[in-house]
């Protein structure tokens, strides 16, 4: 019984920390419609800053917290709004999500550059002092956490419902232009909501540091817990968000306390926030389709088959030439670029054509690699099996997520990726805890040169396939679905199966790439396929151009080059990520990415071939207008 009270207190206290984080998330989302994936990362950077001020600079804790939560974090939030988010008004949800992914990567990069990795123990406020409630010991830090949650709850409620600026914050989501006509300084309104959101992220990060540890990733991943709580409140209701946060805290605490300490269950414990998020997503009621929303973006031109074939041949030829000119190690690097390119190709139908954001594409790559490793075969059939298994898993993921849309769907992929990592990849089913697997290469391909050529050829084949898909009736339906889901629903298109097939296809391509990657690396481990790797992948894919095959090639090479650059110039490590983050700012303007600018350079004489990828051509393809 005494244990139960102790675990309940611990759960409520942790939940209070989550509640602070989640309420910040809800505030920024409900006042700007931008879902800030970097919310946890802001808290992380601010927790590090607080550590710097107290431990390194010797400031008293209260002053450091005041400076960080009251000054630094709001400034960072307002800056992020000013530089990145302001240009995103009206942009598709996927784009805004990816831009905040850029912010996340940038913040992690910056933190790693400023505070290189070492152990940094953090004492709770007031040390271990506290008092007893019955049999349970409550530290003063715990008390501060609960008090902070209560103050935040009351403060936010008062702000949003009792003040004019609070009403303006809510109004700015409805209609920003109208709010301006009412005389409100709208830029101030949204800057303020981001500033408050960031301050809450910082407060949560600082309060939870003694629980989570001062770690880049664990603190940044606090967003998962915050999302889970916020989804319970449907990203809108603050009271429900608080309930969600407390439930999550309790669930985690009881899991620690009462699950038997076997190895299999240790993964489960770590996966509780993700499980909770998944459950909350699936159980939460969904908004109905809104009619009359057509968010078409002009696509990049689709090359003719002949052109694509020529380009493919040139690419393989160039790879062959390079394979002779370059030493063995560089051959492997180049091959890695092509493999990454195939992973990005898997995003082209899903994200580029379908408009769905997958935050964990590397998970499917991992499934492919594990499949080949487990089969232990060097025959090309192993690659097909990798694709098939990944496709199956992809379809299985899409099934429960069928009713989710937009942001909720993206978040469910995030939860899925975490679950796979904790429950499958780190279990004996796959790599085992901290384990790795060796993967055989395709038969007879000992040399780097041959493998490079195989990877280049595989990229070309998959790329041609993606282009064929784009030209097909199915491809046009996908575009129509992306641009106007409601319109397609009224036409009687079955969007559910279209979507399941799309997820399976995308996962299959990624799994195929995973088989190739396994063969290239020859040993793979769970850490190769973690969420924190998927995010830069998605970001680069979108920055380079996720609507085109050329974009995938560019993105794959960039993803391969980034770590190379970072290790060649260690000082630039964080800076490289910073650049990627900054590049994502440009996204708000052109969702077709960098390559579309390259296309435009050569487009001046081909204007007549330009085909906008809008609703009308798609419907024509679907057999509506003849």
């Amino acid at each position: 019984m005494s244990g139960f009270i102790a675990f309940t207190v611990l759960g409520l206290v942790t939940g209070a920390g989550y509640a602070v984080a989640a309420s910040g998330l809800v505030l920024t989302y409900s006042t700007s419609r931008v879902f800030n994936v970097a919310h946890g990362a802001i808290g992380m950077v601010m927790a590090f800053l607080c550590w710097e001020l107290t431990v390194q600079r010797g400031l008293p804790a209260w002053l450091a917290v005041l400076l960080v939560v009251g000054v630094a974090a709001p400034l960072l939030g307002a800056l992020a709004e000013r530089v990145m988010m302001r240009h995103l008004a009206g942009a598709p949800e996927g784009t805004t999500l990816v831009v905040t992914v850029g912010l996340l990567i940038m913040l992690i990069g910056a933190a790693q550059a400023v505070w290189p990795a070492t152990a940094r123990p953090v004492e709770p406020f007031f040390g271990q002092r506290g008092f007893r409630i019955g049999t349970a010991f409550v530290t003063y830090h715990d008390l501060v956490m609960v008090a902070a949650a209560l103050v935040v709850a009351a403060g936010l409620y008062g702000l949003l419902t009792r003040t004019r600026i609070g009403a303006a914050m809510r109004a700015s989501v409805d209609n920003r232009d109208l709010l301006r006509l009412y005389g409100a300084r709208t830029s101030l309104v949204s800057a303020l909501s981001w500033a408050i959101g960031a301050a809450l992220a910082a407060l949560a990060g600082i309060l939870l540091t003694p629980v989570v540890g001062l770690s880049y990733f664990d603190l940044a991943l606090l967003v998962i817990s915050a999302y889970a709580a916020a989804v319970v409140g449907r990203l809108r209701s603050l009271p429900l968000t608080f309930v969600g946060a407390l439930l999550l805290g309790l669930a985690q605490s009881y899991a620690v306390g009462y699950l038997p300490p076997t190895e299999a269950l240790s993964g489960l414990r770590a996966a509780i926030p993700a499980l909770f998020l998944f459950a909350a997503l699936l159980l939460s009621p969904q908004a109905t389709l809104r009619v009359g929303q057509i968010k078409g973006v002009a696509g990049v031109p689709v090359p003719t088959t002949r052109r694509a074939l020529v380009a493919g041949a040139v690419l393989v030829g160039a790879a062959a030439a390079a394979s002779f000119a370059l030493p063995a190690a560089q051959n492997d690097q180049l091959a890695l670029g092509f493999v990454y390119g195939i992973v990005m190709l898997s995003l082209v139908p899903l994200t580029g054509y379908g408009g769905f954001v997958s935050l964990t594409q590397l998970t499917f790559v991992g499934i492919g690699a594990v499949t080949v490793a487990r089969l232990g075969t060097a025959s090309p059939l192993g690659l097909l099996a990798a694709a098939a298994v990944a496709a199956l898993v992809g379809a299985l993921v899409a099934l429960p997520a069928l009713r989710l849309r937009g942001l909720y769907l993206a978040l469910s992929t995030l939860a899925f990726g975490l679950l796979m990592d904790k429950l499958v990849f780190q279990s004996s089913l796959a790599f085992g805890f901290n384990g790795s697997l060796s993967v055989p290469r395709l038969a007879g391909l000992r040399g780097e040169r041959a493998y490079l050529l195989v990877c280049a050829a595989a990229f070309v084949v998959v790329g041609l396939g993606v282009l064929a898909l784009r030209r097909s009736r199915y491809g046009r339906i996908l575009l129509a679905m992306r641009d106007s889901p409601a319109g397609c629903a009224t036409l009687g298109l079955n969007m559910r199966w279209t979507r399941v097939r799309l997820f399976a296809l995308s996962a299959g391509i990624a799994g195929f790439a995973g088989g190739l990657l396994g063969g290239l690396r020859q040993t793979v481990a769970a850490t190769d396929f973690q969420l924190m790797g998927s995010l830069p992948l998605l970001l680069l894919a979108v920055v380079a151009g996720v609507t085109s095959v050329s974009g995938a090639a560019l993105g794959g090479m960039a993803l391969m080059l980034l770590p190379v650059l970072a290790s060649a110039f260690p000082a630039l490590g964080g800076l490289v990520y910073l650049c990627v983050g900054v590049a994502s700012v440009g996204l708000g303007r052109d969702p077709n990415g960098v390559v579309s600018h390259l296309f435009k350079l050569g487009r001046w004489r081909e204007r007549d071939r330009w085909r906008p990828a809008g609703l009308a051509p798609a419907l024509r393809g679907a057999g509506v207008h003849r």
Binding site: A167, A171, L181
Partner: protein, 234 residues
């Protein structure tokens, strides 16, 4: 006396498309002017220029004697320009009360705004805590007009007040417009139902293809309207 709102050779458009090709227009102080014209003539665009939502690419806009090209929409609103744009110009996910609370950005005190609005439109008082999006179209337009009433603007711009509303409601809303004008507010109304607007107007102007082709008293314009519109069809 100088007109309170004066446009001289104003050109404006969207991107490379020019919609207004040199508009000259003068709204006398305290007058109600009806701005008429066929669909796509550029009436809404003209109001957007005056209210600061898009910037004129050429010409001059004078408001209360000041040159206001390039002034921001919110600054103009705080200075006493009240704009009721096309469509339902309320915040659907805010309560009626919160909608009115936002009217205070233009200067009035919250209590006065509630008082004025609820006196003039008792139906809004009954629905004060209801979301504005759940009001009927007419009630939403009343809410929008209540803002104009309560904030006592110098100039009121209204776009398509009658859109989708029953004739009775339209008449009630135009009574409010007439009342405002009697209190000294200068009003520019854009309207498709020429009759409703001309009934309360002191002046009228006709915009065709981005140019003002006629101005005059409401009766003159009313007689000529068919000819003016016909000219635009070619």
């Amino acid at each position: 006396m100088r007109p309170i709102l004066e446009l001289v050779g104003v050109t404006a458009g969207y991107g490379r498309i020019e919609v207004l090709h040199g508009v000259d227009l003068a709204l006398p102080r305290g007058a109600v002017m009806a701005l008429l014209g066929p669909n796509g003539a550029g009436k809404t665009t003209l109001l957007r220029v005056v209210s600061g939502q898009i910037r004129a690419t050429g010409g001059h806009v004078h408001l209360g004697g000041a040159h206001v090209n390039g002034a921001s929409a919110d600054a103009l609103a705080r200075a006493g320009l009240c704009t009721i744009p096309e469509g339902r110009s309320v915040f659907p996910n805010l309560t009626v009360r919160d909608n009115l609370r936002l009217a205070t950005y233009a200067g009035a005190r919250a209590a006065d705004v509630y008082g004025t609005a609820f006196d003039r439109f008792p139906r809004l008082a009954e629905r004060a805590h209801q979301l504005a999006g759940s009001l009927s179209g007419g009630e939403q337009q009343m809410l929008a007009m209540a803002r104009a009433l309560a904030t006592d603007p110098a100039v009121l711009l209204v776009d398509e007040l009658s859109m989708g509303l029953a004739p009775l409601v339209v008449r009630e809303l135009y009574e409010v417009v007439a009342g405002l004008a009697a209190d000294g507010v200068s009003v520019l109304v854009v309207e498709q139902f020429a009759d409703a607007a001309l009934a309360v107007a002191d002046r009228a102007a006709v915009l065709v293809h981005g140019r003002v082709v006629a101005t005059g008293g409401p009766d003159e314009i009313s007689d000529e309207l068919a000819n003016l519109y016909l000219g635009s069809v070619t």
